[in-house]
Amino acid sequence: MSFKFLQRPSFLHNVSCLGFTNCPRVYQFMNYGRFPPSFVEPVYHPDKFNKLNSEEVKELMHKNVKPPTTSQSASVFHDPHLEKLVNFVMKSGRKAKAREIIKEAFEKIKRAQVRKYHLANDSAKLKIPTNPLEIFHQALQNCKPVLTVTPVKRGGVVYKVPVALDDTKATRMAYKWLVETSREHEPRRNHTGVFFSDRLAKELMDASDNTGKTIKKKVELHKLCEANKAYAHYRWGK
């Protein structure tokens, strides 16, 4: 008699089990939790890999790497910011539809910009960007707020206290506003065949020029922070 049957079942490939040995009574592959904190993000794009030096590669080889998610790919067309926008546009998990809408919006941006390009003078032509991705990145950059307000209760009164934002939070707000403003539309009786993709395209082009509804939102928030700057010290203390 030996213990071979007590060992791990053979259908679990040894590669597949690495790092998940802490739950002997549950089947190894039924792990639907998150990865342990020791796991690091994958270097999934060849461009990113080429930037690593030999020491960084050595360090990463000693660590557990997470498998890439659905929104990570090594494609030449891959853009992490665009994937994020897809997730903000997506409703109830229909990612393919969201991708389709954004593709349409980008096509409309391209058409509009090329029309502008051909109508412009030779000297003005150079200043008109025709790459939709470039416009999107510029728009995102312009929409990021620097400050926001948080409610703080002092002596029974709730004050709006201005707080500085970090980059991740500011980017999140920019995505949210871009999609929110594009979803605001005229009442149905005035509907004239303007789709979400049209409004998103317009909003992105406007934001890249520092105009439009989203930029207005950002400026208004900054104004609110300016008005409430007297309460800034409420951030600290009790």
Partner: protein
């Protein structure tokens, strides 16, 4: 138990069969002749949490002998005498227990059909788990057989009642000793650095310890290392001091000390087994592998050299998937290794949705390509996370919840 018993005369001769068992239940069985050798052996040697009382403090036998000579000259306190008696009794008990353990281990090895000479404590644990399966949740409540030496605590006091350790009254002597030693070494490292700076040099890179190939022990491992239970905040304090020493430019001089509290890490890929490469009758090399993701199962066959042909379930190219994300998934490993048009691929996939299927294909393809490419290609695949199975699946719905985690809308009146 009765069925797996081993009626071997050579084991019936042993002393433990002649001695009466302590346990009353066992004695009953013993007298009735029902108890077979194995169950008796296991019972007497099993360590349920309270058999060896940890509060009994062992005392070295040499010190006990010295006591006899001192006793005549100088009377010792009654408490101290009781302490020494307890120690003596414990040591005698220990000899008996050790013999029982070694006999029991040999006996278990014979039952399990293993070589008794190479029967490790790990094997003992396995066989106890197999012979006496327990459904109890608490690990302390499950049957266990361990060498009696594991439960000894070393002597803490000398004959005059003084503690051996200079930090005994801190309550965490070994931990504070570690901190003490660490700070001593940090000061020494500072002095070494100062010497180099005085000469007008800067310290070389080799003076710093290589921290990539090892990582810090966690709190439970540290507890085993210093043989003492550690409080969380104490652990943090100690780690701060150790980290400071490790990050010091002269830390290489104290490598041996630091490695007591670190564990070596290996390159993950060295443990991996890649699918075998076979040669087809037409002279081409082929690799085949089957993997899973969610509920999808994919079998991928890659032939090299090829022209970039790609077939999924008999359908040409990527037309099998309508989703763009799924297509990107399937192409992922080829883009990382740069073998897009140099190999032919044939895939059969079933079960799951498009994400599961493409994920399964991605994993199988990555493993097959890893078998074909050189070391650099494997490193690329490894860092892209493609050589690891994605174990995440949909989390089940829980009762009392709207989904896996989301609660129902609820308002207090």
């Amino acid at each position: 138990m009765e069925n797996c018993m081993l009626r071997d005369d050579k084991f019936m001769d042993h002393g433990f069969m002649k001695r009466e068992p302590k346990n009353t239940l066992a004695r009953e069985h013993f007298e009735n002749g029902k108890m077979n050798s194995i169950s008796l052996l296991l019972r007497s040697n099993l360590r349920f949490s309270s058999i060896h009382n940890k509060s009994v403090v062992a005392y070295s036998s040499q010190a006990a002998k010295e006591n006899v000579t001192i006793k005549k000259k100088k009377p010792i306190s009654r408490a101290m005498r009781a302490y020494i008696d307890r120690v003596k009794q414990f040591e005698e008990n220990l000899i008996v227990e050790s013999k029982e353990y070694s006999d029991g281990k040999r006996f278990l090895a014979n039952i399990m059909g293993e070589d008794p000479a190479h029967f490790t404590p790990k094997d003992v644990d396995k066989s106890v788990e197999y012979l006496l399966p327990s459904g109890l949740f608490q690990k302390l409540a499950r049957p266990e057989m361990a060498p009696p030496e594991e439960t000894i605590e070393k002597a803490k006091f000398d004959i005059n009642g003084r503690p051996f350790h200079f930090l005994f009254y801190t309550g965490a002597s070994h931990l504070y000793e570690t901190q003490f030693e660490t700070v001593k070494r940090i000061n020494r490292a500072e002095k070494l650095l100062e010497q180099i700076h005085r000469k007008g040099h800067t310290p070389e890179k080799e003076n710093k310890m290589d921290l990539v190939t090892s990582e810090w022990q966690d709190i439970s491992e540290m507890e085993k290392t210093i043989n003492e239970s550690i409080r969380d905040d104490h652990f943090e304090q100690t780690m701060q001091a150790l980290e400071r020493l490790a990050q010091h430019p002269m830390s290489g001089h104290f490598k041996d000390f630091l490695m007591n509290y670190r564990k070596a890490t290996t390159v993950n890929m060295t443990e991996m087994v890649f699918p075998e490469i076979q040669q087809d009758p037409d002279g081409r090399y082929s690799v085949q592998h089957t993997t899973k993701r969610k509920t999808a199962v994919a079998t991928v066959t890659i032939r090299s050299p090829g022209e970039g042909k790609f077939v999924i379930n008999g359908q040409p190219g990527l037309l099998y998937f309508s989703d763009v994300g799924a297509r990107e998934h399937v192409l992922f490993p080829y883009q990382v290794t740069g073998l897009m048009e140099k190999v032919d691929t044939e895939v059969t996939v079933e079960g799951g949705g498009f994400n599961g299927q493409s994920g399964a294909i991605r994993y199988a393809t990555s493993l097959c390509l890893a078998a074909l490419v050189d070391e650099q290609g494997r490193v690329k695949l490894q860092l892209a996370g493609l050589l690891r199975r994605d174990p995440r699946v949909k989390e089940r719905k829980k009762f009392g919840k709207a989904g896996a985690r989301r609660g129902y809308t609820w308002l207090k009146r």
